[in-house]
Every structure is written in structure tokens, then in C-alpha cells.
């Protein structure tokens, strides 16, 4: 598709308005984590390579999210890539400004600390920036979500967004490791089962708006196998990746690391199952 540059004032003003909304979304979605102490000290010791990997993998994720919450029927990579870049910029600037206001960016900050703090916080903030439209904008119920409600992978992707968002808010905290150490094997297993049950109740039982028709008509075991179990697996993988990125699993034997992943997967799975409600 040819992308002409619109020079007229109205289109640019509308864009500026959208930008303001995106900033609001970035701040609202970013605030809980912008005010979490662990997030200020994390960039100081986490591996720069892992942070770079997180941001590099996050960008295609933002492009896909842009396509899902977007308005147009057609898929245009340029449009969605532009939206994702703008969202990242908004997330980056919003995080920087809020951290500055909170006194967490000192003038004598090194490059590593500055980049680490701001770019790490930009991840949830840019999700917020991108979602701001579906949150605050006037929503046309039918045109709101793209990708087709029946599209299975689309549904899974939305679950992944929900999981990532909630897991990102909890993963940096010490509490994940404290809880996993206190629980012990049996209780961790119980937590995993309870997570699956909660997830299934949210996916299948609670009829959230935007729920695929498929969930209503298909038998429970089919929904369980195709959505709950797969959604939980996605949550587990995302949690393991996040904890590894934050260096929380370093020098940990696999069973202990797995317990921490299961603990984090609890909020992640709830986020995944209720993503339709939030997004």
C-alpha cells in the first residue's frame, strides 16, 4: 500500500491528541512498576545482553499487539510498525519523565543505569500506550478487536499480552522468590492446580465481554485443552523468560527455579485468562 504523508493540520492534530492519550495510558500502566524499588535497582545488576534481548523480542510483540487492537481491517506492516515505534517512544519518554519526577534519575547516573531503568520501564509503559486507545477511546464494540474473534492464535496472543503485563508487574519483586521458598513442593503443586482451575473458570465460566462464541458452544474439556492448558503453558514460558531476564533464576537448581516460575505464573495466568476483560 502506498503511504502518503498527510500534511493537513487536522490529521496531525488528531495524531497529537492520540499521542496525549498514549502518554496517559503509558503512565497509568507503568506507574505500579515505576514505583517499585526493585525496578530501580534491577538495571544495576541485570545483564545488558538479556535486557537487549528483551527489548529486541518485545518490538515484534508490540507490532502484533498494534495489529490486534488496531482499527483497520487490512493488515499493513508499515502502519503497525509505525504504531509500535510511536508506542515505544511514548513508553520511553513517559518512563523517563516519571522516574525523573520521582527522583530516580540522578544527573550523575551512568549510561547503564539510565538506559537500564528507562528502557526496562518502557516495556510495560509502551503496552499501556498502545492499549490507551482501547481503554479510553470511544470504542465501537464490533470494530474494537481485530484479528477475528474466532481466530485461535489471535486469542492465544491476547492471552500472552495479559500474562506478560501482569507477570511484568510482579516478576521484579523479591516476593516471588520468598513465596516460592516458603511454599515447598506440595503447596507449589497445589498452587499450580489452583491456577489452572482459576484460569479455566475465567476462560470458560465467567462470560467476559468479547468472549469467543466457541467458548460457549464447545464442551468444557475442549476449551480446557485448547485455551486453559495452552494459556497456562504460555504463561509458564513467559514467566520463565522474564525471571531469567531479570537474573532471578541465576545459580538456582531447576526444581527451585521452576517453583518460582509457578508462583509467578499465578498472576500471569490470571492476566492471561482475563486479558479479554482488560484489553
Amino acid at each position: 500500500m502506498e503511504h502518503r504523508i498527510a500534511l493537513d493540520r487536522r490529521a496531525n492534530l488528531k495524531f497529537a491528541q492520540g499521542l496525549m492519550r498514549a502518554f496517559a495510558g503509558a503512565v497509568i500502566f507503568g506507574l505500579p512498576i515505576l514505583m517499585t524499588q526493585e525496578m530501580w535497582s534491577l538495571p544495576f545488576h541485570m545483564s545488558a545482553l538479556r535486557l537487549a534481548l528483551l527489548i529486541a523480542l518485545f518490538f515484534p510483540f508490540l507490532v502484533a499487539l498494534s495489529w490486534h487492537v488496531g482499527f483497520e481491517e487490512t493488515f499493513s506492516l508499515t502502519d503497525d510498525a509505525l504504531d509500535a515505534l510511536v508506542a515505544f517512544l511514548v513508553g520511553f519518554v513517559a518512563s523517563g519523565v516519571v522516574l525523573l519526577l520521582l527522583g530516580q534519575l540522578e544527573p550523575d547516573e551512568g549510561l547503564r543505569e539510565f538506559l537500564g531503568k528507562v528502557s526496562l520501564q518502557a516495556v510495560p509503559a509502551s503496552i499501556g500506550a498502545l492499549l490507551a486507545q482501547s481503554q479510553f477511546g470511544q470504542v465501537d464494540a464490533d470494530a474494537r478487536m481485530r484479528g477475528g474473534r474466532e481466530e485461535y492464535f489471535s486469542e492465544l496472543f491476547i492471552m500472552a499480552v495479559g500474562a506478560l503485563f501482569l507477570a511484568f508487574n510482579v516478576a521484579p519483586t523479591e516476593e516471588v522468590l520468598i513465596i516460592s521458598q516458603r511454599l515447598g513442593g506440595l503447596l507449589t503443586l497445589l498452587l499450580a492446580l489452583a491456577t489452572l482451575l482459576t484460569m479455566h473458570a475465567l476462560v470458560y465460566g465467567a462470560a467476559f465481554r468479547g468472549q469467543p462464541l466457541d467458548h460457549v458452544h464447545a464442551p468444557w474439556w475442549s476449551v480446557f485443552a485448547r485455551y486453559t492448558v495452552v494459556g497456562y503453558a504460555i504463561s509458564i514460558l513467559l514467566c520463565a523468560f522474564l525471571l531469567w531476564t531479570f537474573g532471578r533464576l541465576d545459580a538456582m537448581p531447576v526444581p527451585v527455579a521452576m517453583a518460582a516460575v509457578v508462583v509467578l505464573a499465578f498472576p500471569a495466568a490470571v492476566g492471561a485468562a482475563s486479558a479479554r476483560l482488560v484489553l
Binding site: 498514549a22 508506542a87 465501537d140
Partner: protein
């Protein structure tokens, strides 16, 4: 409705007037800024990742100012970690000496001193550090 970008794009009903696929100039500019920020971030993180490999903690400490505050003397010092690895709980000890005798001692601990970064701290002495020799030494640190 869509993301920050799509919001600004003309809605379907407006499309007839404004033409398909036209993107406001402001969005191109913002997206270009976003691309620069993302690429610079990735490049810097990559650079840090290469330079911090097998990095060592290499702290140097020196006095910034000495001033009298009432009955006490305030020494502002600065520790610079020139190495490629971060240090936690970095302890700096100061001794005021006159000849062989230690007149006064003080110690300060820095929570975090990142790689290639500096931190400042203050110490108080009863004796004037300018009238004696002030020796600063880095004692210990933890891996973060």
C-alpha cells in the same frame, strides 16, 4: 479504535476525503524518533554487554571537598568504579594520621556503584583533615 498512531489516522468514514493510507507527518516524525531511541538503546546495551564481559570491579576514591561545619569537618568523597562490573556494599575507610599515629577513623558504605559510574558520600571528623594526612582506602564490596 487503534493505538496512538491509528488514533490519529483518519477513521474509515473520513477516509474518502483524506485518501487511503495517508499517515500524518507528525506520526512519521514520532515513529522516526521511536526508531532512533530503540536502535540507540539496543546499540548501547550491546556495547555494554561486550564491555562488561569478564568485567572487574575497579574502584578509585578521592576527596572532593573538605569544609568546616560548626565543630566538625565535613569531607565529601567520590568513588569511581572504572571497571566493567558493578559493586554492591562497597566500603571505604578513611584514616586521619599524624606521623604513625591514627588520630581518627571513619567508614562509609555505598549501596550500589555501577560499572563506569561514580557515587559521592560524606564523612565527618572532629579534627581538621587539612592539618593531618587523610588516607582513603576501598576495603570490600559484594557482587550484586
Amino acid at each position: 479504535m487503534g493505538s496512538p498512531g491509528t488514533a490519529a489516522k483518519p477513521r474509515k468514514q473520513d477516509r474518502a476525503n483524506e485518501g487511503e493510507g495517508s499517515v500524518p507527518l507528525a506520526e512519521w516524525v514520532a515513529a522516526a524518533c521511536g526508531a532512533v531511541v530503540m536502535l540507540v538503546t539496543l546499540a548501547c546495551l550491546g556495547w555494554l554487554a561486550i564491555h562488561e564481559r569478564d568485567g572487574l570491579v575497579d574502584p578509585a576514591v578521592h576527596v572532593v571537598t573538605i569544609e568546616r561545619r560548626g565543630e566538625r569537618y565535613h569531607v565529601k568523597l567520590r568513588v569511581e568504579n572504572q571497571g566493567g562490573a558493578a559493586a554492591a556494599g562497597l566500603r571505604v575507610q578513611a584514616q586521619l594520621r599524624r606521623g604513625d599515629a591514627v588520630v581518627e577513623e571513619a567508614e562509609v558504605e555505598f549501596d550500589h556503584v555501577p560499572a563506569h559510574a561514580h557515587r559521592t558520600a560524606g564523612m565527618f571528623f572532629r579534627n581538621d583533615p587539612r592539618q593531618a594526612s587523610l588516607e582513603l582506602s576501598v576495603r570490600s564490596y559484594r557482587q550484586p
